[in-house]
Symmetry: C2
Subunit: 307 residues, 2 copies
């Protein structure tokens, strides 16, 4: 089934201990769309500038991503520059030029309005809610947010969380949103804000999904998927967005949504994140095969499964 993804397309300058790239196609919805494209049809709603060429568009098209929702605005595409230190845990932002993204007002092509899956990328929560309202046949809405929105638009974000089924954020964001230093208690508080499930991403330690009581079936325990201990991480950019793409993509490929399916989706999220960081930018995500993905899924399974 189709996933409508809304978010940013950007050009990134990235420096890591392994090297650097300039003007690399990036942005949260780019990583999301490429990762999800191995599982489901992806429809992209984003804005780009005059510097976005057919060559860039072909990166999406080769993966079957529907680009009709990519709006061309006059000006430059969103640009970001970041540098990772030796431990690779967090990028130091060197510059952020929002450019055409600053005035982004998502426009949903009418052909997209029947999308059964929706992913609300990391944009203003009011825009996220607007997009959600325009779709009437959504089975499941996933979403992301970040410290900026948690701090600056907290009330609006809390409203938007009421229409999100699954929120995917990292540990720091969860603690900030819940105002609670304990991760399990933060999870409960975030679920009290509306989502049916919370995916908390722990970086190199994997991710945990917490369920609201009774959501997606019964059971009182969360579920944890590992991350692959990779000796060589070349570029962590987009790992979280690729995780979300694998997670949502797998859900959209399944006939029913229950806890077991969401658990498997958590593993596929980790799998796609692990591919993303092996090369700079989107390089690895552009040229995967479903066989490689499923082989790595088995490695992830073996990483935590007892006989």
């Amino acid at each position: 089934m189709s996933i409508l993804a809304v978010g940013s397309v950007a050009f990134d300058n990235i420096t890591t201990p392994s090297g650097s790239v300039a003007n690399a196609l990036g942005g949260s919805s780019t990583y999301f769309a490429l990762a999800a494209s191995y599982f489901a049809e992806v429809r992209l709603v984003a804005v780009v500038g005059d510097d976005f060429t057919s060559e860039h568009e072909n990166v999406f098209r080769r993966r079957g991503v529907d680009t009709a929702g990519i709006e061309r605005a006059s000006g430059k595409t969103f640009r970001w520059g970041g540098r990772y230190a030796e431990n690779l845990n967090e990028a130091k932002t060197e510059f952020t030029e929002l450019n055409v993204f600053e005035k982004f007002q998502p426009r949903i092509p009418s052909a997209y309005k029947d999308s059964p899956f929706l992913f609300l990328g990391n944009i203003h929560p009011v825009l996220q809610a607007t997009v959600r309202r325009e779709l009437s046949r959504v089975k499941l809405t996933g979403g992301d947010t970040m410290n900026f929105w948690i701090q600056r638009t907290n009330r609006e974000l809390r409203d938007t969380l009421k229409v999100m089924d699954v929120l995917l954020i990292n540990d720091t964001e969860a603690k900030m949103l819940a105002e609670e230093p304990s991760l399990p208690r933060a999870a409960r508080k975030v679920l009290d804000l509306g989502p049916q499930a919370l995916v908390m991403k722990h970086g190199e330690y994997g991710a945990t999904i917490f369920f609201r009581e009774g959501a997606f079936g019964v059971g009182k325990h969360p579920f944890r998927a590992p991350a692959l201990p990779l000796e060589e991480v070349r570029d962590p950019t987009g790992a979280g967005d690729s995780f979300a793409g694998g997670f949502m993509g797998y859900l959209a490929s399944q006939a029913t949504l229950n806890r077991e399916v969401l658990k498997r989706a958590l593993f596929y999220g980790g799998v796609m994140g692990s591919f993303a960081v092996e090369r700079f930018g989107t390089e690895r995500l552009e040229r995967l095969t479903r066989e490689e993905i499923d082989a790595r899924f088995e490695i992830f399974r073996e990483l935590t499964h007892l006989e």
Copy 2:
């Protein structure tokens, strides 16, 4: 089979956001011994002072721990005071009084010399190596260390690592020992120093076991066990030592040592760590049942197992 454990017995003053205790029986080998006692016979080699009463000894005896190796020295027992902030990740040490522990020279009762399992607690690496040499029938040696020994006695520690089969340390210690910020690369470097396997403890994110090529069977991938997302952690003191006790105890209860057994041991380590932190000091570890332990093992399994 029996485990000989050498390490510290202490009296702790602990303050956490949940409360505080004073003069609570603690020390690394206390937590280790109590946790391991649910799986195997534990023989304890440690030193205590005049303030160690029969009431304290009975804590061990009730769990069937052999206390013949606890030496009584003139003076006070090792005392430690620590305080945990809201996030519970690390204790701020308020005082350390080594007392009789300062001159600790482990003496192995002759009845202990046939011990097939050995756990070298966090003491001077030269003492660790001395203890190892006194035992001639050891099947497996596990060990711990800490930043103090890594920095102050690095050469001696490297020598001792050559006689350890499994080293159990946390992420920070592994990075420090390997002088390497990437955990998977740090793991490889630590294994190059001698151990057959490295258990890297990630706190609330669980633990990973990395195997030296060909050790305990075949396979090239590490294995990860989760930690339980506990909403209420009352006192994190002793979590790592209890983990080691569960890990080593389970190994000592098994007829053969292969990767599958070590993987299960990693889960039991997490299980015992999760019990330890539910109450202050050793309270929870003193009164468990094997049924409670196995029930929690099943929860740990469900936490990462796909159907």
